[in-house]
Amino acid sequence: MAAVEDNIREVEWRDLADTVLVFVCMDTLHDIWLLIWSQDGLFAAFLSAFLIFLIPQLQPSSTDVAMDVLIHISQQLSNSTTPAFEPTAFQVSPSAAAVNMLFFLSLALVLIDAFLAMLVKGWLQEFDRGWRRYTVAHLRAQERERRLQELERWKLGELVGLLPILIQGSLFLFCIGLLVLIFPSHLPSAILCSLMFLSVVGFYVFTTYVSIVNDYAPFSSPVSRLFARGLAMLQTWHIPIPQTVRRIASAISFHNRPPIPSQKQQADADTPDEAMQPLPSNSRTTDVAQPHNPDAVPRSRSGINPQTHVRVLERLVTVTEEAVENIPIFLELLDQPVKDPALRPYTMEKWNELLHITFRLLSDQSTFSVSAAWTLARTMMICYNYDTADQQLYLTLQNHLGSRGAGDEKSRMPLNVLFSAYLSFWLRQSDGRDLCRTIAFLEPSDAADGELLWMVNTSHRTMRFDQDRFLYCPELGETVDMYILFFTAVLTYVSSTEQSRRSSIPLTFAVIYALRAIRSAIDQRGINSIDGLYIFPVTVSTPGPVPMTFCRVDGTDAMALWSQDCIQSVKDLLQWDLTTSVEILTDFRLSLIAALYIDSTKQAHARSHFAGLLNYTNITDLTFLYPGAYDDSKLAIYLYMAVFRKPFEYVHDPLAALERVIRGIIYELSPLQLSGLHVLDIAVKHLHKISAPSLDWLKTLPPYPLLSSPDPTVFALRLVGDWILLHLDTLIAPKPYLLLEKVEKLEWSDIPEEVYIANARLDLYDSLADIGHEADKVSKPDTGLLKVFLWSKDHGVCTRAFKWCLDLFPISHLVHLEM
């Protein structure tokens, strides 16, 4: 990139220097008479011709002296009294002096200009040679940077800009001299020339002024740039510019030029990275409201209106057909309306035509990259809805984007699958569950974060379902279910990938904000009351840009997340009384708690807020839509907090964290709690999987164990219940925690927790039986326990226990058991 900049600058400066040299060299290096006839050396010829004519006026002429002598002799011959001839002192006429002075000054300026041009050309060659001699890239870059800094420090650019100004000054002086020369000789000719000169000067002043007030005018020159800079400096120094001048400037201005951007803004605009785009604004405030007003011309941040943008695309596409290297640039331009809503075209026809041209350009598989497909998918989503959808384009894009395979149900999804699912959902080709599952299992990346943020920001539009259409999913129930399903998927992605630890994109905050806005809209006037393109307000953007698509956000999102306002929103959401399915609600609450927990571990002041929020959780049924998205150890931690409403101190060691979770669950499971047992299973099974020896502390639990509180600030002991000990027997076989005599005394009460424990034990027996003879060595079903299970009213427990009894017991035992 630096080399390109250098090349552009050097070529520009060298051309300028060459032009100057050609302009003036003819005056200095060639015979003056030849130059008169040269068509190229106009200025030098004119100047030389006039100088030849005028230089003698500065010296006494011998012809004039001889004429005077002859006249004097003639007078003496006719009159003898005439005195002897005495030559008069030579005097230069004022007009001749002025004309010569102006012409010589003009010539001097041209010579100085030639000299400077030759110097600049030499300097640039030296600059070029200085850093190109290095072959190692970083050394080359360092050398170039050092030389560039010096080049800027010594204002070489300004010096080059001075060269044409000198020539113009020279021409001006020449013109003045010419007028001074003509006026005494012939007045009508002088007046005519004066008028011509004035008109040319007027034209020059006019074009220069237009270039000053309009950056895009074709009359830009070093002089106009110099004046523009001077004007900007005057404004910077707060020197008042008369109102009249401003009025005239605005009247003459042919283009609604945006304010002169600051250097930083200029740098941002020049940066090709998508990250530099600020978060789109809410239509209720500024940007998006403008297209509804026919009198207002919507402006993008770059100051270009949509029609201009389309024209640029049209112009580029004509050359791109013959130059495929332009395709990335074209695609980048095509992607701009996605990033900058003000660039959305007024009519779909033109956009549709451009899309078709693009597809034709990309018909070659080698140039149709996945990123190109992403761009086109985004563009399609911006431009179409299901009524205007182009099925041919859709099918082509789907083909390039690919889709999720049937076998990768639990693997992380790449971004192109997300685009594919989202496009399909947007065009009502799917009911949204596939999209949500893809989001929940999305491969974490900065690009994915940005895409999801955009989807959250536009969710109030994309999630609208037309219930009359056949693709409406009746089992998803009310529209609000679809919102919850979608936001749950996003939160699952955030919490299962710990997105907030890696990225500064505030997805959690965005979901909370969007859900609050949508809920408020539904409660009041319906979702249609959000009539803008985006949900988020303008003020989400912050000074620290991150390399992300569609938005500019910073790392201060966590502060907003733990603001009182946001905390209240979370409380409301956790207590939202929905008639939605249990799986959706459970996943939503769990993922929200998990996402908040991850964020709270990053800052101390948030922990107390998080602990307070746990009191508002209500998870009783652990039936999930996306259980596979989470790592089991982290899932156990999140569930422990959500089920028991206890905060969990962040522990870096996952093994230690799991042990603390297990200890906490055992402590809290009195009385029994079905969801708690479920969490205990998840934690112990995972601990088994990763490190069986770490269960030693459990194996050393004595009969009738007393367990201390998991909260180190609270000193309390709790006796672990018999049914919990029995379940630990099941989970951590073969050690028997519950003594045999205690087993005999267990009383069956048919509560769901006991059924759960019994089923777990019977599952263990079945699994051991499947192993075969190994099972005999490990564990045998406890006859006393089976006898207890036989009295269960639960079909599964009773019949399975009965089956085991038939398999195990001798007849004598069967009679003895009084079945």
Binding site: L790, W791, S792, K793, D794, H795, G796, C798, T799, F802, K803, L806, D807, I811, L814, V815, E818, M819
Partner: protein, 166 residues
């Protein structure tokens, strides 16, 4: 008594009827011959005499509609075995209910071994009950033609079985 509890569990859930029959056929039937006869009689009594709130016997309540033809034949065979055990305790109501239920069984089971066996038990026991009842009346002093006609009339009434059982 646990067996009655067990039968209630088997019949408690409509969705588990199929698995209940599968359990009986796969686990209980193979062990049936080695189980104590007293327990077997208790089980047979519970399955055949226990009724739900509508008075439907448990073996009928369990239903056969989800079983395959082979499973139905096996279950009928098992039912015949149970009936053999407790046939002496069958009442006129039990037999009538059994007769009606057999008549409603789908085609394919008729004239099969177990089906025939059950029909035979049902017919035999019914005849035996009629004979016993008639024998009881013949011993009464008021035997005459009018009485025979009355008995025949009552035997055809719906509540005749209940009355005769008493």
């Amino acid at each position: 008594m646990w067996v009655e509890h067990f039968i209630q569990v088997l019949c408690a859930d409509y969705w588990s009827f199929y698995s209940s029959w599968k359990l009986l056929l796969s686990a209980l039937v193979p062990k049936w011959t080695v189980l104590p006869s007293s327990w077997c009689r208790d089980f047979a009594s519970a399955l055949i005499f226990s009724t739900d709130i509508h008075g439907v016997p448990a073996y009928q309540f369990l239903g056969y509609r989800y079983l395959s033809l082979d499973e139905r034949q096996a279950s009928l065979s098992f039912l015949a075995t149970l009936l053999e055990l407790i046939k002496s305790r069958l009442t006129w109501v039990n037999l009538t209910s059994l007769e009606n239920w057999l008549a409603e069984l789908s085609e394919g089971l008729e004239n099969q071994g177990a089906h025939t066996q059950i029909q035979h038990i049902q017919a035999t026991m019914k005849q035996q009950l009629v004979d016993e009842t008639l024998g009881f009346f013949t011993e009464l002093p008021m035997e005459n033609e009018w009485l025979e006609e009355s008995l025949e009339f009552f035997a055809e009434l719906p509540m005749a079985g209940e009355w005769m059982g008493e």
